[in-house]
């Protein structure tokens, strides 16, 4: 079976010379939920931007990433971007339209769908994200949790097969966090979640990848890996509280 996402020896250096990724390889199977953890500056966001070809800007070495077996190439980027839905770290960057409806409709419109189909997809995505009724709302009048779910609706409206999430629960209050977590749990797509929220990883992901200084330093079953106190501390992480008193199996 071909992997939903496959990355082979991915390297990336920013224009200022900083080496962000130094040979990253991993794969995510269809339907799997994988957590991507690591300290600040490990290269998590940079890695995620490669998964639908936003980086590298020069398009050199796009082929290091394969989506459902097909290597990325300049001419299949539009299709790849539809299939790999990317949720950005800052909701304000992602909600760039004057109203929630317009924003969620952005992706479907780019796909060239007609108005009826666009409205249908928007209604469906908003219902999935629990935002029905907020179509006319301006993004700056949404709460933090609503903003995040509106971003997710915008991604879901493109009907992706893989969801790639960058810090989905950052700066959410506990309720917003809980709602988002339940929402993600209900979405039956392949997921790769980069986050510092280790409890989220425990609850949603069966497997984790630890990234530090542009390299994968550990990979394995969530509970086993997160209970390895020494490994966690070495890479700026910690054993999450919900695993404190549980025995690793």
């Amino acid at each position: 079976m071909t992997a939903a996402l496959e990355v082979r020896d991915l390297r990336f250096r920013y224009a200022d010379g900083a080496e962000a990724l130094r040979g990253v390889s991993f794969s995510v199977a269809g339907g799997e939920s994988v957590g991507l953890i690591g300290p600040n500056g490990a290269g998590k966001s940079t890695l995620l931007l490669h998964l639908n070809g936003i980086l590298p800007e020069s398009h050199d070495g796009l082929g290091a990433v394969r989506v459902e077996g097909v290597p990325l190439a300049p001419d299949n980027l539009p299709d790849v971007r539809r299939r790999v839905g990317l949720l950005f770290q800052d909701a304000n960057d992602q909600l760039f339209c004057p109203t929630v409806f317009e924003d969620v409709a952005f992706g479907p419109r780019q796909l060239g769908l007609d108005d009826a189909e666009v409205s249908l997809r928007v209604a469906e995505a908003l219902a999935q994200a629990g935002l029905t009724g907020l179509e006319r709302r301006a993004p700056h009048h949404l709460s933090g949790g609503e903003k995040r779910r509106a971003c997710l609706a915008g991604v879901l409206a493109c009907r992706p097969s893989v969801l790639v999430l960058d810090e989905p629960t950052a700066s959410l209050d506990p309720r917003g966090r809980r709602e988002l977590k339940e929402l993600l749990r209900r979405i039956p797509l392949t997921k790769l979640i980069a986050t510092h929220d280790l409890e989220l990883v425990v609850e949603l992901c069966s497997r984790v990848i630890v990234l530090d200084a542009g390299r994968i330093v550990a990979e394995g079953a969530t509970r086993e890996l997160l209970c390895d106190e020494e490994l966690m501390l070495r890479h700026g992480l910690e054993r999450p509280h919900i695993l404190r008193h549980a025995h690793p199996h």
Binding site: L49, P78, R82, L86, D93, F96, F106, Q110, H140, G154
Partner: protein, 203 residues
């Protein structure tokens, strides 16, 4: 800053608010064009033209105080431009005429913004086949103006909370730094927004 300072009151409910945005936009532009077309010898017509916007304002229930505040905010620009006419011989009448004419246009546009949500106006522009790039630029401006204002306010507060002396030259220098930083952050954000647009299929 209230997040809706651009088109506050535009979501009230009144017969005017319920009119289609296209009708209001075309009426406002027609009125402004007419006001500009009136020759100076027919100055009385200006008074006639100012009746419709005043009636519309009354029916729309947009507070007079709000409309007057907006006028006061923008009028200095108009006066500064018109004042150039005072340098001409017999410029007084020309000055007054220009002032009246421009104020009428200004009032009409303020009223339009006060009775029509900005995103409805954008939809109309799109339907009228205004170039898509221009409409997109306007939409992005409307969206990010608030983010930018919030950001500058946060930076200002952060500065104030660590400012213990009040020396003007220093505060100017700090302001310059903040403006520079704001510009930098805005351009970085613009890049991230572009990435987010690409991620959802923008070409």
């Amino acid at each position: 800053m209230r997040a809706d300072f651009l088109d506050r009151h535009s979501r009230l409910d009144s017969p005017i608010h319920r009119l289609p945005a296209g009708v209001k936009l075309i009426a406002a532009v027609t009125l402004a064009t007419a006001a500009v077309a009136i020759p100076r010898s027919q100055a009385l017509w200006l008074a006639v033209l100012s009746a419709p916007p005043l009636i519309v304002a009354a029916v729309s229930r947009v507070p007079w105080k709000f409309l007057a505040g907006r006028m006061l905010l923008l009028e200095p620009l108009v006066i500064a431009m018109a004042a150039l006419l005072l340098l001409q011989p017999d410029g007084g009448r020309a000055f007054l005429f220009l002032l009246a004419r421009t104020s009428l246009c200004l009032f009409t546009m303020i009223l339009l913004a006060g009775t029509t949500p900005f995103d409805d106006l954008l939809q109309v522009l799109r339907k009228l086949r205004v170039p898509a790039l221009l409409v997109t630029t306007l939409a992005l401006m409307y969206r990010y103006l608030f983010v930018l204002i919030d950001e500058s306010q946060r930076m200002k507060r952060a500065r104030m909370s660590r400012t213990f002396v009040n020396r003007r030259t220093r505060s100017w220098r700090v302001s310059a730094t903040i403006i520079g930083l704001l510009f930098l952050r805005a351009s970085e954000r613009a890049e991230r927004i572009y990435d987010a647009m690409c991620a959802r299929g923008w070409r």
